[in-house]
């Protein structure tokens, strides 16, 4: 552990700057002009991003073994033998994360200035957004579990606030509540995990827990802890079965979806598992659980994305699916690949969402891809950048997504088996298909706009420039991790290596490079196939009827998919209705009936006595005398008996 010195002692500024921005916008946002608000908001994030880059620069200069810097701020919760300080940890993993988070956040902030310009709650929006960035940075910089938990809950809260941002919409309020409660359900496991960690280690510092994990934990305990922590990740990263909140979260303004529900917050689960990787490594059960959940998620959400018609929901399901990929990567022992995919996905998906935002903006809040089309000529910048994003998502060679996805595919093949790999390749094909289904429907083909749309809104430069920058990142971001097979250095893996202790198996031997190239070829082909199929279905004149026909023949499957595998409905019946039923029962039957009636009954009994007893007092003297005589007789009888 290295004490923070020099520039690193200013590490706290990275989260503090967005916090300052947030506070400013919270307290004064209503008093100052939108311009000031946006300057403060973007400026604070921008500074944080610059600082992150500077830190990165200095970090790279450190020898590898010193790349673990802790900065303790103060002791937050000291209680007996428990103590949870606010401390920050800068290691390669968090370094990468803060750079990505601050950078992408900055771009999205800038974009938002244009996107939200006409919103009356401009300041509130940036307050939330800045606050979110603060919590996200705190999350990734956390030096112990509880600080991570602050960030974890904080981002969830901001996500809730932003999903419900359009307060007048019932659907937005509903989606916000759902997002919060579902993720909170995951957090329930996470807190238990934290407590279990403390009980086992008497400490919650990453620096103390993780290195000692293999000494302290029995395999069973490791499994428990890993699964509990993974429970949190499942909620936050929208994995099956807790994925249902993310599509609904698309009620949020589009930049929010880009930032929170694509690039950063939802990946926190991946980050968490990666962070606790030493514990997961101790438990094969946990590892396979992670992989299986990831696989299920990837497949299920990819299939749902095939049939959805809401531009943002398609992207949301795509996000869920890609997160599934990352978890597969983690589960099969390739955490570096997962983090790599996290980064490239962040660029690409942020780009796609922002592009989608531009589309929606252009068509006056239209979200249904069936009522779009032919936007290519109207918003060319969006068109081209979106294309880059879609290609990157689809995994076309040369773009960012390709490298990272293939790193995971390769690891799955070697560690997980052919079947796993095959399913993932098919999923990759589906990904390419739905990305381009969306792309073609939105930008090509004929106009199917809503008749009310007379004129297309053209995105302002503040919106297009971030798009372009993200497009560049999505295009070239993959070059930080060109695999050895392609003659690259796979710098990201080696950079992250200190965080992830080597697994017991070796990946990437001399023999594997040829295998790697072969695998890449197959997956690229499948992706191409997906794109071509999408073109055939949605652009080419011959295939125009195909989707309809397909829907007819496979109507059962179609319904199943378009209802999202009926997850929501089942949850409604099994959990929500039951819960409300139980609540009503306890209120009506137990609280107001049994308990309240007991009290009322007792009171009624006494008060009823108050009605009856005075009736003894008839006012008749002889009756009174009778009482006295009776009393005398009873007393004498008592004395006689005893």
């Amino acid at each position: 552990m290295v004490e923070a010195t020099g520039l690193f002692s200013k590490l706290w500024l990275v989260p503090a700057l967005p916090l300052a921005g947030a506070l400013f916008n919270c307290l004064l946002g209503r008093q100052v002009s939108n311009f000031v608000v946006s300057i403060v908001a973007c400026g604070s994030i921008g500074l944080a991003a610059v600082l992150s880059l500077l830190l990165f620069n200095s970090f790279l200069k450190l020898p590898v073994e010193q790349r673990h810097i802790e900065l303790c701020m103060y002791n937050w919760i000291p209680s007996g033998d428990f103590s949870a300080p606010i401390d920050l940890l800068l290691d390669p993993l968090s370094m990468v994360m803060i750079t990505m988070v601050s950078g992408v956040s900055f771009l999205i902030h800038v974009y938002s200035v244009g996107y939200m310009s006409r919103d009356e709650s401009f300041a509130r929006y940036f307050f939330y957004l800045n606050l979110f960035v603060f919590f996200m940075l705190l999350l990734v910089l956390a030096g112990n579990f509880l600080v991570l938990y602050i960030g974890w809950e904080g981002v969830g809260t901001c996500s809730y606030l932003l999903i419900s941002f359009l307060y007048h919409k019932q659907s937005a309020a509903r989606a916000g509540l759902k997002a919060f409660v579902v993720t909170r359900f995951g957090d329930f496991f996470f807190t238990l995990g934290i407590m279990l960690v403390f009980v086992q280690f008497k400490s919650i510092y990453f620096g103390e827990v993780l290195p000692r994990a293999h000494e302290v934990l029995t395999p069973v305990m490791a499994t428990w802890i890993a699964l509990l922590i993974f429970g949190g990740a499942v909620g936050k990263s929208a994995q099956v079965p807790l994925h249902t909140w993310l599509p609904d979260a698309m009620e949020a303004p589009t930049p929010v979806s880009a930032l929170i529900h694509a690039a950063t917050m939802v990946t926190a689960g991946v980050y968490l598992v990666a962070r606790c990787y030493p514990i997961f490594q101790l438990s094969p059960t946990a590892m396979s659980t992670v992989a299986v959940i990831g696989l299920l998620t990837a497949v299920i959400s990819a299939t749902i994305a095939l049939v959805n018609n809401d531009i943002k929901r398609i992207l949301a399901y795509s996000t869920v699916s890609q997160l599934g990929h990352m978890f597969i990567g983690l589960g099969v022992g390739a955490p570096a690949a997962a983090i790599f995919h996290l980064l490239t996905h962040a660029f690409a998906k942020a780009l796609l969402f922002l592009g989608a935002g531009a589309v929606i903006h252009a068509l006056h809040e239209e979200m249904d891809i069936r009522r779009m089309g032919a936007l290519k000529g109207h918003i060319p910048a969006t068109f081209w950048t979106f294309l880059v994003g879609a290609l990157a998502m689809a995994g076309i060679p040369g773009l960012a997504g390709f490298f990272s996805k293939d790193a995971i595919l390769e690891a799955s093949f070697t560690n997980g088996g052919v079947l796993l790999w095959l399913i993932m390749v098919v999923t990759a094909g589906l990904t390419a298909f739905y990305c381009f289904r969306l792309f073609f429907n939105a930008f090509l083909g004929e106009k199917r706009w809503d008749p009310h749309v007379e004129e297309v809104h053209h995105p302002a430069p503040v919106m297009t420039i971030p798009l372009m920058l993200l497009a560049v990142l999505a295009a070239v971001g993959g070059y930080m991790g060109v695999p050895h097979a392609l003659g690259g250095a796979d710098r990201i893996s080696s950079f992250l290596a200190p965080v992830f202790p080597p697994a017991h198996h070796t990946d990437g031997g001399g023999d594997s490079s040829r295998l790697g190239i072969m695998l890449m070829t197959v997956s690229s082909m499948v992706a191409m196939l997906g794109i071509i199929l999408a073109y055939y279905f949605y652009v080419s004149p011959e295939g125009r009827e195909a989707p309809g026909r397909l829907r007819q023949t496979l109507s059962g499957v179609y319904d199943f998919l378009s209802n999202g595998w009926y997850f929501d409905k089942i949850y409604q019946v099994v959990f929500v209705d039951r819960f409300m039923g139980a609540a009503n029962f306890f209120w009506q039957a137990v609280d107001t009936s049994v308990l309240d009636m007991t009290v009322r009954g007792l009171a009624g009994l006494v008060l009823g006595g108050g009605e009856i007893v005075p009736r003894l007092q008839t006012g008749l003297v002889r009756w009174y005398a009778l009482f006295m005589v009776a009393g005398a007789v009873v007393i004498m009888g008592y004395l006689y008996i005893f």
């Binding site: 919760i77 007996g80 509130r124 307060y167 509540l177 407590m195 609540a583 308990l595």
Partner: protein, 524 residues
């Protein structure tokens, strides 16, 4: 201000009592002056308690600023006051919330606001008396006397059902506490039988060992009295009525403080007096607490009356507090104390907000609201903030207490920890659902006239908001001062258990946390 040589605790209690006396006795021509007087007194008391906080020695586990005089020497009852880490924050939160209650009810009380302020001051005196008494009889005096102003606050300014609410309040709390009086007397005579001295001094009574046959009924009497006040399911049904029928938010806040006395009394009196009872019945109590936690959350979900909803959420939170106390370890107890402070702040502020809504809407029915955010964004922000605080978002005050309680519970029994943390999910669900129904969605036409917060109202809400953040971010201020007293409490209970040679499996967790030097400190 050097207050170490003042009888500062007496002043704290007497000042509001005298203030109330002045308000009641002087035939004021106008309601303005009594209100100003009350605010002044509450303000001075707040400052005084802050000075007390500054002068408080965080390292000491014993009673500080102790005062002791004979009161009824014939009975061995003393006028004996003292403050330690456990009561210090109860005192602070009381003075603070009373001040806030007076501030928030400034424009809210329409009829006889002067009298209203007088009753609030009387409540303050009683509450502080409860928290500062070191003599069981004195404690009982304050414990009982609290009910009178409470009764009047609800009975005079209450809603349509106020009569029912007051009756319930009286039946429950008086029934419970009078039984405790019998138990107190029994304890007192047992002590005499063992030592030959008549005394109500709790430090001496702590040493009394209660014969086995009397343990259960006496423990039960104390338990019921405290459980009613807390209130723990199934003794809780007075609270929703009391909350719902007190239309003035200030009065509700005070009720909020009143229920803290139950949990406080568990800590101060029940644990040290009945460690064996506590230890052997702790699983039962914990079950009850967990049940309360879940039960309150469940019922809160389906409430349409916003005050009832928050009241049931209090029931749920109280379950957590009791859980923290009865897991009998340091984290649990510290968490419980923190939680009491936090809930007073967050629920108190929520009630103030509900009062503000009520002032504008004349309704407590959630279905009559909706879409309020559009016209009252500022209030919405505060509302959101305090709702989130109640939900237990880290960085805000409730989280710290909650987490410590969970941790304490988890260490004792994994099931406790699991059950308690699960309810947090439900808490989030019903509180945010409430928020949604009130603030979000399309706004009905009539809400248009609901104006946003005035300056005064903003100030009223800002102060607790700052404290919520402060405690959430830097709870060390509290924890440092609570810890010596809390561990001394555990040590004492354990020692008493050891004397009785009862298998002390329950307290073993506590023992490993408390260091030797602290034990020595308690000895002094």
């Amino acid at each position: 201000m050097d207050i170490t040589h003042w009888p500062v605790l007496s002043i704290l209690i007497l000042l509001p009592a005298i203030g109330a006396g002045l308000i009641f006795l002087i035939p004021w021509a106008d309601d303005f002056f009594p209100r100003v007087l009350a605010l002044l007194v509450a303000g001075v008391n707040l400052l005084l308690s802050l000075a007390l906080f500054r002068a408080f020695n965080p390292a000491s586990a014993g009673m500080q600023f102790a005062e002791r005089r004979d009161w009824i020497p014939d009975l061995g009852a003393g006028y004996s006051l003292g403050v330690d880490g456990i009561s210090l924050f109860m005192v602070l939160i009381t003075t603070f919330m009373v001040f806030l209650a007076l501030l928030s009810s400034w424009g809210e009380v329409e009829r006889r606001p002067g009298l209203f302020s007088g009753f609030i001051l009387l409540m303050e005196a009683g509450l502080l008396g409860i928290f500062l008494s070191m003599d069981l009889l004195l404690f009982y005096v304050f414990w009982e006397i609290m009910l009178v102003p409470m009764y009047f606050l609800i009975g005079l300014w209450g809603g349509e059902n106020r009569r029912y609410a007051t009756i319930k309040l009286i039946i429950y709390t008086m029934g419970g506490s009078l039984l405790m009086l019998v138990a107190i007397l029994s304890l007192y005579f047992f002590h005499h039988a063992q030592t030959g001295t008549y005394t109500f001094d709790i430090v001496q009574l702590y040493e009394t060992s209660i014969p086995a046959y009397a343990l259960l009924p006496m423990g039960f009497a104390f338990f019921v009295a405290f459980a009613v006040k807390s209130p723990l399911v199934p003794f809780h049904t007075w609270l929703p009525d009391a909350h719902a029928e007190a239309p003035i938010s200030g009065a509700v806040d005070i009720t909020g403080l009143l229920i803290k006395t139950g949990a406080y009394a568990f800590l101060r009196f029940f644990l040290p007096l009945f460690p064996d009872f506590s230890a052997s019945y702790a699983p039962l109590v914990v079950m009850l607490a967990l049940l309360a936690n879940l039960y309150g959350a469940l019922i809160a979900t389906v409430q349409d009356d916003i005050k009832r909803l928050i009241a049931y959420s209090s029931v749920s939170h109280v379950g957590l507090i009791i859980l923290g106390i009865f897991v009998l370890n340091l984290q649990g107890i510290e968490g419980a104390i923190l939680m009491m402070v936090s809930i007073a702040l967050s629920s108190g502020a929520l009630f103030i907000i509900v009062g503000m809504l009520h002032k504008r809407s004349r309704t407590k029915d959630i279905s009559q609201m909706g879409g309020v955010w559009r016209d009252m964004p500022l209030m919405g922000g505060f509302f959101m903030f305090f709702t989130l605080a109640s939900v237990g978002i880290p960085g805000l005050s409730n989280f710290v207490g909650e987490f410590l309680i969970f941790l304490g519970a988890f260490r004792v029994n994994v099931i406790y920890g699991v059950a308690a943390s699960f309810v947090v999910v439900l808490t989030a669900a019903y509180l945010l659902w409430m928020f949604w129904r009130v603030m979000f969605g399309p706004a009905p036409e009539r809400t248009r006239t609901w104006y946003d917060l005035s300056f005064m109202e903003t100030v009223t809400l800002t102060i607790p908001a700052i404290l919520v953040v402060l405690i959430g971010v830097y709870p060390k201020i509290l924890l440092d001062r609570i810890e010596p007293s809390a561990s001394a409490l555990l040590v004492r209970a354990e020692k008493k258990l050891a004397q009785k040679e009862i298998p002390k499996n329950r307290l073993s967790v506590a023992s490993c946390q408390i260091t030797e030097d602290r034990e020595l400190k308690t000895e002094k």
